[in-house]
């Protein structure tokens, strides 16, 4: 999980062109939107593409996206859960 969290932080910074933000400065459970990193609705959509592209996971709609992308931790938990589901199938 920790390795996944670190990896996700790097990916988010790269995909969303975040400037002057280091992986270390993103807290695992801090909100990504609004007050946190100040991400907007287009950023949610890019994160949805990221999950599809890199982890083969499909998020259904921006509404579900809001809970999945609440924080880096919630993203990692979602990915792990989905991957376990896929392995079981």
């Amino acid at each position: 999980m920790n390795q996944l969290i670190t990896e996700l932080k790097k990916e988010i910074i790269y995909q969303l062109n975040l400037q002057d933000i280091t992986p270390e400065s993103i807290k695992d459970d801090a909100p990504l939107f609004g007050e946190g990193l100040g991400l907007d609705s287009i950023d949610v959509l890019e994160l949805i593409v990221l999950l599809q592209k890199k982890y083969g996971i499909k998020v259904n709609g921006a509404e579900e996206g809001k809970t999945v992308f609440f924080s880096v931790k919630s993203m990692a938990e979602y990915i792990t859960a989905k991957q376990q589901q896929q392995q079981q199938q």
Partner: protein, 403 residues
């Protein structure tokens, strides 16, 4: 300078009718053009509902006399030609009137449908791909083709401001007439559906996987459509000279920048509010005189809430005139939306109609606006506000009035 801008001809092509007559018939039965039938070869168009015109380019061409068999025409140009020709016939313009007229065309996709065919071939090898296809790609090509067909030479231009394009074309045309640059202007918008747009809108997750529900609490997004809507606009002097009876008046218009986000509308609907207020102010009428509002109402979370907030800023809850979005019937036809909706506004005035906002069941909690859900007839409709809001915060509103 203060002379009125009169509407003397209308023409339209959409998924609910290839002519004004067919459109009128579809309204009477409240038919919708939204379906899963697709002519566009796209995986998305097969899985998501769209409002496509179910005629191939070849079939469209057969309906337009005078086209060259050697020339490549984009679908956008073909749709535009059909609707613009109908508007000209409706207005009874003579060839000499067309020569002296202006054309303000609008589109957002332009010839992308043909550009996509060219590009696919070109990528396999730099020697491949029919350049004639690529030449239709830019937005100005459709205007040139329509002008050539109709022998319009005086003034030709193209406007592309996403979903407010056709409304802006009409505003520009009205200004040309008021400034005395043209006496007659053919104006409108046309957009064919293509892969680029459907993929783009899908990536924004604003395409609904079911029939769109404008202004509904549980709305899931929009349905893309294709259409063309055109007008003949004229000065009072020209109408008098030709001795024709105008259908309606373009009595007011407004365009404003939301200055908020590339695609999202502001929470307080500032751009929409400014555009509607400008339209009302330029007309000289009062908000209380508006009989019906043909809303932009796309069915997306963002637009419908923002537009509702703007509406309530102008008309308080108790004074809000009947509102509906016709996009559940026509789909969201992007650049053509303002054109077809203004055509519908003229029909509403002529027939005393208020159009149904189909698929609505529950109001948006924050604003509580309940649109008209069934076709209303025998209404006295004198003034209609028709909204068209585009990406980039380019918002326009037209006020169309009875003569």
């Amino acid at each position: 300078m203060s002379s009125r801008v009169l509407i003397t001809g209308i023409g339209s092509v959409s998924s609910i009718g290839l002519s004004i007559q067919e459109l009128t018939d579809s309204i009477v039965t409240s038919s919708s053009g939204v379906s899963r039938k697709t002519r566009l070869d796209s995986i998305l168009a097969r899985t998501l509902p769209t409002a496509q015109i179910q005629l191939s380019d070849e079939e469209l061409k057969k309906r337009i006399p005078g086209l060259s068999s050697k020339q490549v025409y984009s679908r956008t140009a073909l749709l535009g030609m059909l609707a613009a020709s109908e508007a000209i016939a409706n207005a009874g313009l003579a060839p000499s009137d067309c020569n002296a007229a202006g054309l303000v065309n609008s589109t957002s996709a332009g010839g992308m449908d043909k550009g996509e065919i060219f590009y696919a071939d070109y990528l396999t090898s730099a020697n491949k791909g029919n350049l004639k296809f690529a030449q239709t790609h830019d937005c100005g090509d459709a205007a040139e083709q329509i002008a050539a067909l109709l022998h319009i030479e005086q003034y030709i231009t193209t406007i592309s401001t996403a979903c407010s394009s056709a409304a802006n074309a009409m505003i520009h045309a009205a200004r040309l007439i008021k400034a005395g640059i043209c006496d007659i202007v053919i104006a409108g918008g046309s957009d064919a559906i293509c892969k680029f747009t459907i993929n783009g809108f899908n990536s924004l997750m604003i395409l609904s996987d079911e029939d769109c529900k404008p202004f509904d609490k549980n709305r899931k997004g929009l349905n893309l459509g294709e259409a063309a809507g055109y007008f003949v606009l004229e000065s009072e002097a020209s109408v008098k000279r030709r001795g024709v009876k105008p259908l309606a008046v373009l009595s007011g218009y407004g365009n404003a920048c939301d200055a908020y986000h590339q695609t999202a509308s502001s929470p307080n609907g500032e751009g929409a509010y400014l555009a509607m207020m400008q339209a009302i102010r330029t007309s000289g009428f009062e908000p209380a005189e508006i009989d019906y509002i043909n809303a932009h109402g796309t069915g997306t979370q963002n637009n419908d809430l923002s537009e509702s907030v703007a509406l309530l800023r102008i008309f308080t809850e108790s004074n809000l005139p009947p509102v509906s979005s016709t996009k559940a019937m026509t789909g969201h036809t992007l650049a053509a939306a303002g054109g077809i909706e203004a055509v519908l506004s003229v029909l509403a005035i002529q027939n005393g109609w208020i159009f149904p906002n189909k698929n609505f069941s529950e109001a948006i909690e924050e604003t509580g606006i309940i649109p008209v859900t069934e076709l209303q007839t025998n209404k006295s409709i004198k003034h209609i506000l028709s909204n068209s809001f585009g990406f980039g915060g380019n918002n326009s509103s037209l006020l169309i009035s009875a003569c």
